[in-house]
């Protein structure tokens, strides 16, 4: 028995097997939920590289590695908090899917994506991580194609960006090994860093190669695309941290950090401006995601423990906020669809859903950084730290954050406009209330959350030191 088999192979295999249950959606979702909870519980209770004793005679050694064709999947004890988090996240998505309409294969794909994300974390050598990210992103494409709201260009652009990102980072990984042998070759070092940065620009959707991310988030149902986008972005940032942790020469290459801060600021300002002119909630959220990528890049580029914690906090918060946002979107869309279907069949329409603009506004500001939210202290601390290093950059960072806050006015206008339809009986989704309260609770119990974030950062001890 070993850890990668349990946390990589089992989710992948169960995802495939659950496809057989696709005609029994409820059973499939409950089984997937049970598997995720079980895997999360094992990650919580059984330390890797320990002996499990059954009764008095039988024992099982729970090893940390699995060899596949000369490559290894390795999971350490310090990665167990991340495993718990990822399986809990998957469990929350599955739980939410119980109350909304989903594609019949969506939960199976979600399970496989979770397995692939853990594969990305565990694979050695590091260069293989990018293939896991590529597979993770292209796996749900057929599902999204069926649910498209217009043409397929969003998916096509996504695939092209991922392939180009993999191409550049793949070659950069080979060059990195060459640089490790001869650090004095500055030309080679610069080219390697450049190749890597271009690769990350494609994978993270950094301006001017951001259109795939916006199109993906706007043209496809949020609940179908939310998990893929948030997990892909999290995985890419995790890969970036792994690269910084693994290669000493990159970690000590100051120009890279300056580059990350500069790219991050451009991204934040671009995302902020895009948000300012976005009147549709989906576009506004896509702009927020782009801008948040910028903030996280700035935080990583500041090269200190405090800012790295802020980056991880924002990444984790974004994963949770995307779930709630997608859930709100899908609940609204389902209610509208049920209403239209009932009218079409000449039946009495079901009670319509209450206007969720206020909830959207709240969720938007939880990530954008309103007081009492988890993001607020992190962003203020980031601003304060940057102001001591570079007042000009700090001003740009502050401007970008302000743009994001001001952009919420579009959601506020929707709230004030209200629902123009004829007043009918309204209902409220308790799931949304619980989800939003949980998000707010993260800000209230920030100290507790921070201790969890510190555990997620434990594998990056080289950067932290």
């Amino acid at each position: 028995m070993n850890a990668p088999l349990l946390w990589v192979v089992v989710p992948l295999a169960s995802g495939l097997l659950l496809m057989l249950l696709s005609s029994h959606q409820r059973i499939m979702k409950l089984t997937a939920l049970l598997i995720c909870l079980l895997l999360g519980l094992v990650a919580l209770l059984i330390p890797i590289n320990s002996m499990i004793i059954f009764g008095s005679q039988t024992s099982l050694v729970f090893t940390d590695s699995l060899n596949i064709l000369g490559r290894q999947l390795i999971l350490g004890r310090n990665q167990q908090p991340l495993l718990i988090f990822l399986f809990m996240l998957a469990a929350f998505w599955i739980l939410a899917s119980l109350t909304v309409r989903t594609h019949r294969f969506q939960i199976s794909v979600l399970m496989m994506q979770t397995g692939l994300s853990i594969g990305m974390i565990s694979v050695r050598p590091l260069s293989f991580s990018i293939y896991f990210i590529l597979l993770l992103t292209i796996l749900p494409m057929p599902i999204l194609q069926v649910q498209r709201e217009s043409d397929s260009s969003g998916l096509m652009r996504t695939m092209l960006s991922q392939i180009l990102g993999v191409t550049f980072i793949g070659v950069a990984f080979w060059l990195m090994n060459a640089v490790s042998l001869n650090i004095a070759d500055t030309m080679l070092t610069q080219r390697t860093i450049l190749m890597m940065l271009i690769g990350f620009i494609f994978l993270l959707g950094i301006f001017p190669f951001h259109s795939w991310l916006v199109m993906l988030m706007m043209r496809y149902p949020s609940f179908s695309v939310g998990f893929t986008v948030s997990l892909q972005q999290f995985s890419v940032f995790y890969l970036l941290l792994k690269i910084l942790n693994e290669y000493t020469w990159i970690r000590t290459y100051n120009e890279l950090y300056r580059g990350m801060v500069a790219i991050g600021l451009v991204m934040l300002l671009f995302g902020g401006l895009m948000a300012l002119f976005s009147t549709f909630p989906k576009r506004l959220f896509a702009a927020l995601v782009l801008a948040e990528n910028g903030i996280v890049l700035v935080a990583i580029g500041m090269k200190s423990e405090r800012e790295l914690t802020a980056a991880m906090t924002l990444l984790v918060l974004r994963l949770l906020v995307t779930l709630v946002w997608a859930y709100i979107d899908q609940t609204e869309s389902d209610a509208q669809q049920a209403h239209a279907e009932a009218l079409l069949q000449g039946e009495d329409p079901p009670p319509s859903l209450i206007d969720l603009s206020a909830v959207r506004l709240l969720v938007y500001y939880i990530l954008a950084g309103m007081p009492l939210s988890l993001a607020f202290p992190e962003k203020i601390a980031l601003l304060s730290s940057l102001s001591t290093i570079s007042p000009r950059n700090s001003f740009l960072l502050g401007t970008g954050m302000l743009l994001l806050l001001v952009s919420g006015v579009h959601l506020y206008r929707r709230l004030l406009a209200g629902n123009a339809s004829i007043p009918t009986k309204k209902k409220f989704s308790p799931g949304i209330l619980i989800a939003v309260l949980l998000l707010l609770a993260l800000g209230v119990f920030a100290t507790f959350v921070k201790s969890g974030i510190a555990l997620l950062l434990a594998p990056f001890n080289a950067i932290l030191s």
């Binding site: 000369g70 260069s127 695939m159 092209l160």
Partner: protein, 207 residues
């Protein structure tokens, strides 16, 4: 530099294949594009069969044939005879663009060869495949051409990585990814086509 005849023919076939796909990107009948795509693979085989093991060479050829079949089944279903397209100004312009890209690849190849140590002929083929793939992808909305372009870009990347790392697993992963993309492409193409209702003629009615 003296290139073996097979490598020269390989380079010629890759260029010809890419040219056929590129000039025919807006054609109604995509069978020429599929032939061009297959020519690229045959060119790659001729280029690498002296260097790669026989197994890898055969696998590349098989992947080329399989992706063509998977993506192009709908195109061959019609059974209409293949007709040579009429030469238009668009075709001439595209030939000119591909020639510019050909020269551009020739110009940048020596610079890149200084830090990516793979044979010049292979590097040229890789760069040409990637550049033409990008051009094909960006100049058309046709799903078939776009998927062929994506797979061509991945083929270029695979050739580089197999040379650099010499790892069977990398080769296997990339081959698997190319096949996955071909399957996704077939799914996209069939999804985007309007459903055809086949009406069966009831012969009993005539009696």
């Amino acid at each position: 530099m003296q290139l073996p005849v097979t490598s020269l023919i390989g380079l010629g076939l890759i260029s010809l294949g890419a040219l056929i796909v590129f000039t025919q990107i807006d054609a109604d009948d995509h069978r020429f594009n599929l032939v061009g795509y297959l020519l690229k693979y045959i060119g790659v085989i001729l280029l690498v069969f002296r260097i790669f093991s026989i197994q890898k060479t055969v696998i590349i050829l098989l992947v080329g044939i399989m992706t063509t079949v998977v993506l192009g089944t709908e195109e061959f279903r019609s059974g209409l005879p293949l007709q040579l397209p009429k030469l238009t100004v668009n075709h001439i312009m595209r030939v000119l663009i591909s020639m510019i890209l050909f020269v551009l690849t020739f110009t940048i190849e020596p610079m890149i060869a200084r830090w990516i140590p793979i044979p010049d002929s292979i590097l040229f083929a890789v760069l040409f495949l990637i550049l033409l793939g990008l051009a094909e992808f960006s100049l058309t909305g046709s799903l078939l051409i776009r998927f062929l372009a994506l797979i061509s870009i991945l083929l270029g990347y695979m050739l580089v990585m197999v040379f650099l790392e010499d790892a069977t697993l990398t080769f296997a992963i990339l081959i698997g990814t190319m096949m996955t993309i071909a399957l996704i492409g077939a799914n996209f193409i069939s999804e985007s086509q309007p459903a055809v209702v086949e009406i069966e003629v009831n012969e009993d009615l005539s009696e």
